[in-house]
Assembly symmetry: C2
Homo-oligomer: 264 residues x 2
C-alpha cells in the first residue's frame, strides 16, 4: 500500500468506541484500492461526547470522502447527514456516509443487506421462515429492516431492554411480520440471529439459551472477533448450520464498496 | 503495510493547506514502522478557520498519538500545545506534537535541526559562514533559529514582507548574528537558502536573483516538490553546490522519528 500512499490519498474514517477490534481499516482499505480508489480507512476512537467535534472536523477535512460508523454511533450519526436512504431513515441509523455535492453527508445503512448477502452465501434464504433476532441496537435494527423486507414469515424480536425492542418494533410498524419475542428462547424458530455484542469478550454470557438449539436450525452471528464465538461453537456442536460475524462482514464490505465506489 | 494495518493501528495526522504534496504520509509512516511503531500518518487537508475543530478532534481521538504540522499552520498550532521546547517557543511555532501524560500536546520544531543535518550531510558546515536566508515563515523561522545557534558569522534575513522579517529578527534578539538583508541579492554570501514556498508551482518566480549566484556558493532549498526546483537547477548551472528540499526532508524525518519514537 505504501507504494502509492501519499498526501493526495483520500481519507475515510471508521469511528467507534472501542475501535481496536475493527476490521475495516485493513479490509476496506484493501477493497477500495482493489477498486481503483487511492484511499486509506483510518480508525478513529471517539466517544459519544466528542461526536460533534469529530463530524465538524471530518466535514472540514477537504480530503475526507467518507465516514464508516460503528458501535455505539450508528443512531447518533444520522443527525450529521443532510439526507439518507429510506432504509436508513426508517430505522434512524446509518453505518456509511459519503459526501453530498455541497460538502455535507449522505447516509445509508448497509448492515442489513450485507447480512442477507451473508445468509444467502451460506445457502439460507430467509423468505417464508420464522426468525428470532436477539438485539435491537444499530446492527440489529438494520438486520430487522432487511429481514422484514425480505419476506420472512415471522420476525420475533428480543432485547434485554424491552423499551429498545419496542422502539424497533415501532420503526417496523409498516411490516406485518415483526412481533415481540417474550424471551431469547430459540425453540421453534428456523433462523436464530445474535445481533448483540455478547461474544466479543471472553467472559461474556451467551446471548441466548444455547442448550435449546436443535439440529436443522440456522444460527447467525454479528460478532466477528473472535471469528468462532461461543454461540457459533455451541450451535455447530448441536448440528445447526451457522453464519459467523466474518460472513456478515464480507457481505457488508461488498455493499460498502458499492456505496463509495460504485462499479459499472 | 496492510499486513499489520488494523483498528489498533495508532494514528498520526499531518495537517496542512494544501496537503496533497506532503511526503510525510508515505515516508513518515514507513519510518515509524521501520522503528517498530504500528502507525499510519494520515493527511488532513484543513484550512485555518477549521484548526480549532481539528485539534478538538485530534485531542478527543484516543488512538491519535501525534500531529505533524505543515504550511500554513506551524505558528497557529503552538496555541494548542500545553508546552513546547525552548526552540519552538523562541520562534513561536511547532511542526511536531506528541501526547503529554494528561492527554494534551507537547510541541517541538525540528525543521531547523533537520535543515542543519541536511546541510552537513552535503558537506556544508555553516559555522563561521555568512548566510542569506530568504523567507521568514514557519520553516524559515526554525532554520534561522538553528543557524543562529550553530555559530554562523552573519545571518541575513530577507522576506517580501518586511514586517514578518522584523518579527523574526525580534525573536532572534538573543543572537548577535541575525540582521536584516536589504534584498534577496546573494552577492557576497557563502550560503544562500530559500525558505519560501516559491518553486512549488510551475509558474512561480524565483525567490532570489539567480543570475547573481557565483561558483563556490552553497545554495539550499526547502521546496521538496519538484525535487529539482528552478532555483536548484540555476544554482547547479552556475557551479554552486546545492541541497534540495528532499535533503531537508530526510534530515527532518530522522528528527521526527526521534521525537515520536526515541531510539535507544
Amino acid at each position: 500500500m505504501l507504494d502509492t500512499y501519499s498526501g493526495a490519498t483520500r481519507v475515510y474514517f471508521i469511528i467507534g468506541d472501542p475501535i481496536a477490534q475493527a476490521k475495516a481499516p485493513r479490509y476496506f482499505t484493501q477493497a477500495l484500492r482493489a477498486n481503483g480508489v487511492d484511499a486509506v480507512v483510518v480508525p478513529a476512537h471517539v466517544g459519544s461526547a466528542d461526536l460533534a467535534a469529530f463530524f465538524a472536523t471530518a466535514t472540514a477535512m477537504r480530503n475526507c470522502d467518507g465516514v464508516v460508523v460503528t458501535v455505539p454511533h450508528k443512531f447518533d450519526a444520522l443527525a450529521y447527514c443532510e439526507g439518507a436512504t429510506p432504509r436508513a431513515r426508517s430505522i434512524g441509523g446509518v453505518n456509511v456516509m459519503r459526501r453530498t455535492p455541497t460538502g455535507g453527508w449522505w447516509g445509508d445503512q448497509v448492515d442489513g443487506e450485507g447480512y442477507l448477502a451473508g445468509l444467502r452465501a451460506k445457502g439460507c434464504d430467509p423468505a417464508g421462515r420464522k426468525v428470532l433476532l436477539v438485539g435491537a441496537g444499530g446492527a440489529g435494527s438494520a438486520i430487522a429492516r432487511s429481514l422484514a423486507d425480505a419476506g420472512v414469515a415471522w420476525l420475533a424480536l428480543h432485547d434485554a431492554d424491552p423499551a429498545r425492542r419496542d422502539e424497533l418494533l415501532a420503526k417496523l410498524a409498516d411490516s406485518a411480520v415483526a412481533r415481540p419475542a417474550g424471551s431469547a428462547d430459540p425453540t421453534g424458530f428456523d433462523i436464530v440471529i445474535n445481533a448483540t455484542p455478547l461474544g466479543m469478550g471472553p467472559d461474556d454470557a451467551l446471548p441466548l439459551p444455547e442448550a435449546r438449539l436443535a439440529p436443522g436450525q440456522f444460527v447467525g452471528e454479528v460478532v466477528a472477533q473472535p471469528e468462532v464465538t461461543a454461540l457459533i461453537a455451541a450451535a455447530r456442536a448441536r448440528g445447526c448450520r451457522t453464519m459467523t460475524g466474518m460472513d456478515m462482514f464480507n457481505g457488508v464490505l461488498d455493499r460498502m464498496v458499492d456505496f463509495y465506489a460504485p462499479r459499472s
